[in-house]
Symmetry: C3
């Protein structure tokens, strides 16, 4: 933690400062938890009450928010600038540019400017790494991998043959991208043969892949409804949490978010801006329309319309699901009631 | 991609060629997506219509399939030979035989002929590796590990003490085999003590283990119904997808398939040829009979009969499950209807 | 396996020996599976029948258990001492103390006495490792990591910046601790920005973390109900199985157990001694009271009371859940019965 004066922080963040610029910021905290050394933030009038009770020393606030004279920085995105303030107050130095002497590089590797390659990295033949990209320790790139500029690849990441990453991607430790999809078929004698999955995985710009997540490669001839392109593909700005499985031939639209332990079977299509909650599962070949919100634990076996908000198994509209769940607790009692009625009205019991 | 003439491909695959052997194959694609440079495949009359509309340059077809004169290769297993054709057209060179100079080998390690050991592998005392087996970069073998012939172990795999793999196994990156099972007991003072799990995991021939999957070791004295043998064991030809958890003392029969994010608790028995869909869970000590099909997301808390096809929680026969799911959406409405009837027939409401 | 005489084993375990101390123990097994060379154990009268039928050569038994003269060792915790006997009969040598010549250590690293650092470990600036702690091969510690005494860190573990582990912890291969939590916000232009997660993860004494599990760091200002402290924290004696996801800002009480594939979203609180079964999920900000038992596959979206035993989605008391599950199979039939009654009593059908 590096203390900083509010006025200097305003300059660093390129924001307007109101109140005493000499106020010293030593920490960051939410409105309710902040002490006088802390910078906090308010995103709107909804948090007026918390703001009034808050003991922070300074605030990031929207342009028209009445601060009653408390020191503040004005911004149209208070939480985003709070995030930037964390970078200023908790700076974390990346490894310096340069290739560590223990890294093993294959032939024809192309490194951009100011690339950092950590200890015990292994970089396959013909791989390329863009400017300022940082590989922490023990990253393995198989032959032909291409990584864009300004990426950060954490320790223990494995990128298989010909995987491509766009610019500004962050890959957390232990993620495996481009492993062979789960696809087998039968020989004439009834034994299984692997279908070689050799279509390179493509990942766009500004993506994040969580720790120990896995994204599989597809194979030529792999089916996807009405698509000649069978590569596994993530668009731009896709955010994937930890321990997520993305199957062969899946196509994920820009800005989609996949929470932890989600499983996408092969050949599914996830539209732009879709949100999938933790532990949800998506079956083979399913299409999820843009902007849909899939609740945690949902089992998606059929297509989902654009903008739908669903939950449960099978997926239902959110409010219906909650009503079904509430009603389900009364199911044993309901069986008894129906039996009672059957006696009364002389209908043969269904029991 | 390496273009090849159809006649030459026929020779490589040892198949009969019909039509112009000089047709040049430059790619591979499904029937609907294929262009004139592509080889495609038909598995039977079911795809007759797609075949007729297909624009592929050549086809893999069953022996008696009428191709109306289009160039083709005849085979009893078109999809399997399509898989072999991928190997021809998308060859992927494995690392050359030899032990990389950075590999660290313990005492008494036995290496077969033409073994390949990649950079930064660490091989424990007394381990053995069969002929032509390839370890990619950064594989760790604890002491006593034994690996058969013609295996491929991808980067970042960790095999713990005394794990044995059969022949022709493929282990995807990040898999951990032989970690200590989740077993603890209480000391007299009420604190927990680990039960050391020291029974080596045994994996048969022709198995595949997916990326970041985990297979735990068991311990002597670990309970399994009627079995003196408590080792975690996978038979031959078992295929395990990514992020699968296989608990201590589990026994998996030949040819079983486990999809991504499946969790098997300890001491369960999975019969020959069982298929378990993604994210399904199997409780402690459960027996699943041979040939059973467990749908994705199923929660298996009790035994499953051989050949059963089940889904849901608790598992039900597939068609029943779909009817229950459809009916569950009408549950809130059903409660209202029963209340209405109760009023009408003068039964005290159960509400 | 190292054979040992019963009398010598008694001395090693500091227990009282009854019967012939020269009985040779060559193996360990459960009561039903034991042969005359095996040591087995009985935890109480409940297993009297199995004891009578058992063919073991010797037994660990409670103080007042009538053994009818069979050779035994007396103990208040038979299973715990069986675990200790496994250590004696199946000893597993840890790597010898010392830093392997290939390990890369940053500046200011502090190593305790008899520390073992394996091949290709990478230890960041300012990290510290307590006495007798063992790092197997290829462990990566980012800068500032602190590890207590007598820990065992298996191969391929990645600990990110400033993570702290207490004493006697065991971390299985491939676990990633301290990765950045899944937290983003929006810039004024609508694009996403990562919120830097820089609060170090804290793990207490006697914890175990399973293979390929992930525990995320939180960020300053991250919300948790009524808590100024936002660090992800595991208390003492917490046991975490394989492939578990623990989200940013989660707080887990002493002695809690989390089974495989469990997912905890951010900011949840798990009380002392809570047990969470496999594949269960816990939503953001939920509080689970001390001693609660959450069954496998449960979807926890709201708070759970101390000591509650719940199952299902939404979580219900165990017995209710089983009744609801049994009733749910009869739902399609119930719909038909209600329709029948409606006809009979002349109520407009709800269909």
């Amino acid at each position: 933690m590096k203390p900083v004066q509010l006025g200097k922080l305003a300059v660093e963040l390129d924001l307007e400062c109101e109140g005493d610029p000499a106020v010293e910021v030593r920490g960051l905290a939410g409105l309710r938890d902040a002490s006088p050394q802390d910078l906090s933030f308010v995103t709107g009038e909804r948090y007026r009450k918390d703001f009034e009770l808050s003991g922070a020393g300074a605030y990031l606030v929207p342009p028209d928010f009445d601060t009653d004279g408390r020191p503040c920085l004005r911004t149209r995105a208070p939480y985003a600038d709070f995030a930037r303030a964390i970078e200023v107050l908790h700076p974390r130095s990346k490894p310096a540019p340069g290739v560590h002497e223990t890294a093993v590089l294959g032939g024809g590797v192309a490194l951009g400017k100011d690339v950092s390659v950590g200890p015990y990295c292994v970089i396959g033949t013909g791989a390329s790494i863009g400017d300022r990209t940082c590989l922490h320790a023990q990253v393995v790139l198989y032959p032909g991998v291409r990584i864009g500029v300004d990426c950060e690849i954490h320790s223990g990441v494995h990128l298989r043959d010909d995987v491509t990453l766009g610019d500004r991607c962050v890959i957390q430790s232990g993620a495996v991208i481009g492993g062979e999809g789960f696809g087998f078929t039968f020989r004439a004698d009834g034994t299984r043969i692997r279908v070689p999955h050799r279509c390179p995985v493509e990942i766009g710009d500004d993506c994040e892949i969580g720790a120990n997540s896995t994204i599989d490669a597809s194979h030529p001839g792999h089916p996807r409804r009405g698509h000649p392109e069978v590569r596994t593909r993530l668009g731009n700005g896709v955010k994937v949490d930890n321990l997520v499985q993305i199957g062969h031939g899946t196509d994920i639209g820009d800005g989609a978010m996949l929470c932890a332990l989600v499983g996408l079977a092969g050949s599914s299509e996830v539209g732009r801006g879709v949100y999938i909650g933790g532990q949800a599962g998506v079956a083979d070949g399913v299409r999820i329309g843009p902007g849909a919100l899939i609740g945690g634990g949902t089992g998606v076996a059929g297509d989902i319309e654009a903008g739908a908000q669903v939950l449960g198994y099978p997926p239902m509209e959110r409010r219906l699901w909650w009503r079904v769940m509430a009603a389900s607790k009364r199911l044993p009692q309901l069986l008894r009631r129906v039996r009672e009625i059957e006696k009364k009205v002389d209908v043969a019991s269904g029991d």
